[in-house]
Point group: C2
Chain length 434, copies 2
């Protein structure tokens, strides 16, 4: 049973605040362990990687079948192990993701302003990117596509994937997805040690400049620790969906969408805001009914019970500021005219508009990216795009005339800041006496 | 005396690698102290801020002249304390920065693809941003402009500045810059405690969603710690300039530019790559000569002695891959035809093109941003732009026809990933039996 909140009730603000501040994930304090692993990999390189992989993943890189680097043969073999329909689906997804992300390629710019100063910028791709893929049940081929394709579109030359392989076995669908998306190198390593290897390099693995992809608490702490040496994407937290629905909805559809979020993780959160209390009741019943036949019913049930919420509002407009305070990763607008609500969305990772856009479509084949800001971080960050794999160099160009014109305020500010050499580097070009 | 490297020498690769990996900054291990301060501010709020400010900045918020929040009166007073020429220069700089950054405002997008799926995105401003300004000699009014103006252009409603005030006094030029740039609130606090207050809020300070601006090791560690709760900009490291010069240069100009970088900090780095050994010699002599008359000669001299370098190359093309490996924050192209070299620049924060664009112009009045990636991070990150104060919400919209078309691959992938509720949220809309 999810909790119920009524936006018209006197205690609503208090209860809504409590909902917002619910801590859904205890971040384990793994900093010390992770720092030691990173230091060890920097010092012992491949030897450290082999030791950790033996200990944590029960894999021996000395065995011919499971070397650290995944061979082309193993990738080819993976295609024969994956259902051809899945391979076909991965190709459909890849093509749609690629074509949508190609629109994100930025333009260079250069112009002269009214006094003739040239200003501009050029975009270039990051040269090498590391992609972390979790092991076990969270080893999702779709996430490989969502991270690797934007990097490929950006023009990244080396896309290096790492994936922990319990007893040496990598999920073949993950290998197929990597090949389809254009990953260039794959290593059978995981955990903080894999992040350290990507950031600092070892004898076998050349370092990368940026690391992306989700992982457990150790991976997250390692990414935080190497941030600065390399770039990182956001630290992914537990996932969430918010559905805004008027009375004209099929409760079974809404329930299915809430559960699709909840089945990810017991720390996932599914929230429904509706103008219609009876719809809320019907959705709640449908959730209970659907839970019974769900393979991951236990996980989804725990998430719904612990963090699920149904909020009733007097009208749909009232829902929007609440949605912006929740700042959900996924926002479904289950109304006939979503276009009327979209301009009112301030904080959300992605909007799924109308009755026929279940969030799961966006997870796989919509074409947009499913790597989105979690845990209220849509207040300040965005989903993954091609720009995350590029960087921008600004360009400034003055001639003698522009320098003469801008020298006085530049010298004034340099002197006010006590930076005499700054002032001189400008004045010396004016042939002035210092 | 800076070190000399010759790209044609047999030991060059080894010596160049050593130059690249020189550690210029010892990052103090302040994590534990910072974590305790953050916890304390979360717990005691304003009381903790007052206590730390008394201890570290010798300021008493109970004194009427130095409340925690800087009053409008104090800001007005600051304008009367600052040289009117400096105020004028700040206004010139602000207008140029604003007009250049206005070009960075991104466009929304929405289109239908060939099967009628609607895809797009909308950009919105971060609602509240915190701007950290260091105290003491590093309290630069130009940095206030460079951080606050892009936020203002982006449409950020609350721009909250914090600045430590030794004995209560804030640099009046910093206050004037804040007012000119559109800062909305100013607090007389600094250090890890100020970062904690911005991230988590106190009784007097409403929390922000993103924190930008440079600071010492404590501020950097605090930003790293609150990353996730709020967004942060990059962690600024020691600054650097690389000048690529052919033989046709005035050695005094080049020397002035090298020293303008070196005077920032003993950990700053100034490198010259030249095709002309005799120019290198002349620059070296000019550096020694100019150092004698420089107010911050001691700092600049230490930086040049410890980290300065002159690299000779057989031709200008050889310089470019070296520049990309250095990935400098600032790259000056001191040649007659910089346009021929610009397309070969892969990793650099900003390019200053031609003989009349000393880097110092970009620090103040060029119009481009002076917050740039340091310490080789131009390999994966970019200078500050308006986009750093905005976020992007993606939009996906399918009708029944598009859902029917994309359902099979979506269901295939959901099932392959073991996510039954994902599959059901799609199939249920097709009125299929589960």
């Amino acid at each position: 049973m999810a909790i119920w909140l009524d936006a018209a009730a006197p205690d609503f603000e208090e209860r809504f605040k409590a909902l917002l501040s619910t801590k859904r994930e205890v971040s384990a304090d793994v900093g010390t362990v992770v720092d030691a692993i990173i230091d060890d990999v920097r010092e012992r390189g491949d030897t450290a990687l082999a030791a950790y992989s033996k200990r944590f993943d029960e894999v021996d890189f000395d065995e011919p079948a499971t070397p650290m680097k995944v061979s082309e043969g193993e990738v080819a073999q993976a295609f024969s192990e994956v259902d051809p329909k899945v391979v076909e689906a991965l190709k459909v997804a890849e093509a749609r993701i690629r074509s949508h992300h190609a629109r994100q390629l930025p333009e260079n710019d250069f112009y002269k302003d009214e006094i003739g100063v040239g200003l501009g910028h050029r975009w270039t791709a990051v040269e090498a990117v590391g992609l972390y893929v979790p092991g076990g049940t969270a080893s999702y081929p779709s996430s490989v596509l969502m991270n690797a394709v934007p990097a490929s579109v950006a023009g990244v030359e080396r896309i290096v994937m790492v994936v922990p392989a319990m007893k040496g076995k990598v999920n073949p669908a993950v290998l197929a997805a990597a090949q389809i998306a254009g990953v260039s190198e794959i290593y059978r390593i995981g955990g903080a040690q894999a992040v350290a290897a990507l950031a600092h390099g070892t004898e076998s693995i050349k370092p990368v400049s940026k690391i992306v992809g989700p992982g457990n608490a150790y991976v997250a702490a390692a990414k935080r620790a190497v941030f600065g040496t390399v770039g990182i994407d956001m630290i992914a937290g537990p996932s969430e969906v918010l559905i805004i629905a008027d009375g004209e909805n099929n409760p079974d559809w809404i329930a299915a969408d809430l559960l699709a979020q909840a089945e990810h993780d017991t720390a996932a959160q599914s929230i429904l805001i509706t103008t219609d209390k009876s719809l809320g009741k019907a959705v709640e019943e449908a959730v209970e009914r659907q839970l019974k036949t769900l393979p991951r019913g236990e996980i989804a049930g725990a998430s719904w019970r612990d963090y699920g919420a149904i909020i009733t509002v007097p009208d749909i407009e009232t829902a929007m500021p609440l949605a912006n305070r929740i700042a959900p990763e996924h926002l479904e607008l289950a109304v006939d005219d979503p276009d009327a609500l979209i301009p009112k969305v301030r904080n959300a990772g992605a909007i799924f508009a109308g009755h026929y856009t279940p969030e799961a479509i966006g997870d796989y084949v919509g074409g947009s990216n499913h790597v989105l800001p979690t845990a209220r971080s849509a207040r300040f960050s965005s989903g993954l795009t091609v720009l995350d794999f590029m960087k921008r160099t600004s360009i400034l160009r003055l001639g003698p005339e522009q320098l003469n014109r801008l020298a006085p305020p530049a010298i004034e500010l340099a002197e006010c800041e006590g930076l005499g050499a700054h002032a001189r580097s400008v004045s010396i070009r004016l042939n002035r006496k210092e």
